[in-house]
Point group: C2
């Protein structure tokens, strides 16, 4: 398989490292807006023929098409912020390549009832083109990271093997990562965290469909496994709520993010002061977007791996019935930062995200996963994915709840 | 008296409005870095000969001296942010003018024990030159706003008339001002509020002298008079703690600011994220100071007067003994925003601050207050000041505590 990887940040680098010596990979083009960064990763990998570095502007559809053709790639893997999804998605269609991403096209709130009704939902712009992709026999596999991604595979696995009927699927993402030497240092892009957490959270319920609620609503203390312990989780907009109901029969889908009290307070305060805004303001004659200033004041999570301790965890919590009796199960994957750093030189969040699209590419190349249209991870048979996890050294757990 | 007013912001404008028709005022030069703003106030006052507008760079000592000489002024009144104190203070000395300000030269924290020991204190840079001013027979009256200013006059009044011995003088500043139509809108310069509140608060105790403590330490709910009610107050760095012990015998001096929970949380969060910093950061190729971005995102308090409701209050709370018995008194001044807007077209905080230097200039011009050196308001006889308050329509209260 020949792959065009767009975006060589923390996750992009991890994808290249994990895919590096897999027999199914013929070539992976490392394309980034920051060519120096692409070259740095190229050099680390030490195989410039297999991993050539290229400059790309992810906003420029025609440039992406040209680069895909230049290297005759089979698949375009989108590893940049989701604000650039559409030009990459459209370029893949143009170039006749399989498309794969880890976050979906952005939402915009309902103009008058933002915290009750959906406006444009996550992924709407991509799903609108599903028929065209189907007609062309081309596959866009969307939301194929850790969450969304593995969380959706877990949901499908639970439906297939563990339940007769499902009342609720709740995704929970949390951990106890901390960064030594910083009073406050996000372990994931603050720009994206603000985007996710301040947009109206989305819920799905059978009969009612998709609705929205207030940011940070329905706080719940969730007890994460493997020593992480209780973390305060709140409703956050996330792809699983959009994806799961399209392929899995259930009563309700929610996503809650274990931000913890400090982070929730930071986000609320940024919003109160207007510092979350992406609209430039005039600061003594200079135009800057407040959200970019917030990001500039904080350390870059891509360079914090060796100062980080703790674990991060994705949980798919399923409630329903089996053999006429109520059942609750949670399926989870935990990544320990010190273990990831020691084994792969990769930060835990980056590794945990990156390993899933790599497994998916393996299955696509082998023809085990195949399809056409715009499909989420839960559209595919979960068993071969789960089987591959051991090969890729991804531990996971399935826990029967009381 | 001929006055050079440097800084025609909210307080500067209020000074001009209050002084406008007083018989002792011959001329007041309105000098600002923003000449348009100076002209706007000049036009409002409708007497361009008496209130000429001039452009000034408050960082430029020689320009200030030249402007003082051009208009042959007797007094330079500093109404800009205290970061510009020293060039204005030095220019007044150069030009042989009386100097008056409402906030003192800035502190810098102790290099190794910032929350235990003082580094450079508020006003140190000014007091260092006290002897030179004395020798020249020239007066610098420092900290002559509402607080510091009236709060210090109250302290001296209490010592003179109400107590035989004073254990503690505690200044409390709080209110219930709110701005209609904004979730969060400071009623005072956010730049200065950050400066005051995030510096190590200073305390004074007989025997120990000046020490510092943690920002926001010793929270206390203080019940403000005239319907304002209870507000959470915390230790904040303020001039009274530096000024009062120099002239008044007492056991302890503190300053607590009634920020309220929301504001305290905002300031703590800004500090946690480094958004309080005045050191420019690189934001996508542009250099900006995060604190300036915070200010740019919030509405300008100078233009919120007509949307503001509520009151602001300065309290000097004195504990001690009189005739062998314990006594507690508090002396206070309350300004109601709607009343200030209706009567003077001035925002309450601006009016409450501005009226005090105007009364002081009146007393200086009459020769009732006189002196040489660098002196605080409590260095003077409080009685004539208190007597003038009625003439200037400044209500105040003295309340015996249980």
């Amino acid at each position: 398989m020949k792959v065009l990887l767009i975006g060589v940040g923390g996750v992009g680098e991890a994808i290249a490292v994990i895919a590096q010596n897999r027999p199914w990979l013929e070539k992976m083009v490392l394309a980034d807006y920051n060519l120096e960064r692409a070259r740095e990763v190229c050099q680390k990998l030490g195989a410039p023929e297999k991993f050539p570095a290229e400059w790309i502007d992810a906003r420029d559809e025609s440039q992406i098409v040209a680069l895909a053709r230049k290297h005759a790639v089979d698949l375009i893997l989108n590893a940049v912020e989701p604000r650039y999804n559409m030009p990459i998605f459209n370029a893949a269609y143009q170039a006749g390549c399989t498309y794969l991403d880890m976050a979906m096209s952005l939402s915009s709130p309902h103009p008058t009832r933002p915290y009750q009704e959906c406006g444009v939902k996550l992924g709407d712009a991509q799903f609108e083109q599903a028929e065209a992709w189907e007609r062309k026999g081309l596959l866009a596999l969307v939301g194929m990271g850790a969450d969304p991604g593995l969380s959706d595979v877990f949901a499908r696995y639970a439906e297939k093997h563990l339940f007769d009927a499902i009342d609720e699927i709740g995704i929970r993402d949390g951990g106890n990562l901390a960064v030594r030497g910083y009073a406050f240092a996000p372990t994931f892009s603050i720009w994206t965290t603000i985007e996710e957490c301040l947009n109206p959270p989305i819920l799905w319920e059978a009969g009612r469909g998709w609705t929205t609620t207030e940011p940070f609503s329905e706080p719940e203390v969730f007890d994460f496994p493997e020593g992480i312990g209780p973390v305060e989780c709140v409703n956050v907009e996330h792809e699983e709520v959009v994806l799961i109901p399209r392929w899995i029969r259930c009563g309700r889908v929610t996503f809650k993010y274990g931000l913890g009290e400090t982070f929730i307070n930071v986000l609320k305060t940024l919003h109160l002061l207007g510092l979350d805004s992406t609209v430039p303001v005039n600061v003594k004659g200079v135009q800057v977007a407040p959200r970019d200033v917030v990001a500039a004041c904080l350390p870059d999570p891509a360079h914090l791996g060796d100062r980080m301790t703790g674990k991060t965890c994705v949980v798919t919590w399923v409630k329903g019935t089996k053999d006429g009796r109520p059942r609750q199960v949670f399926l989870y994957q935990v990544a320990d930062n010190e273990a990831c750093m020691a084994r792969y030189g990769l930060q835990a969040v980056a590794w945990q995200t990156a390993v899933n699209p790599v497994i998916a590419m393996d299955l696509l190349q082998a023809g085990v996963w195949r399809g056409a249209g715009v499909l989420g991870p839960e559209a595919f048979d979960p068993d071969p994915f789960i089987a591959k996890m051991a090969e890729y050294e991804v531990p996971y757990g399935i826990k029967e709840m009381a």
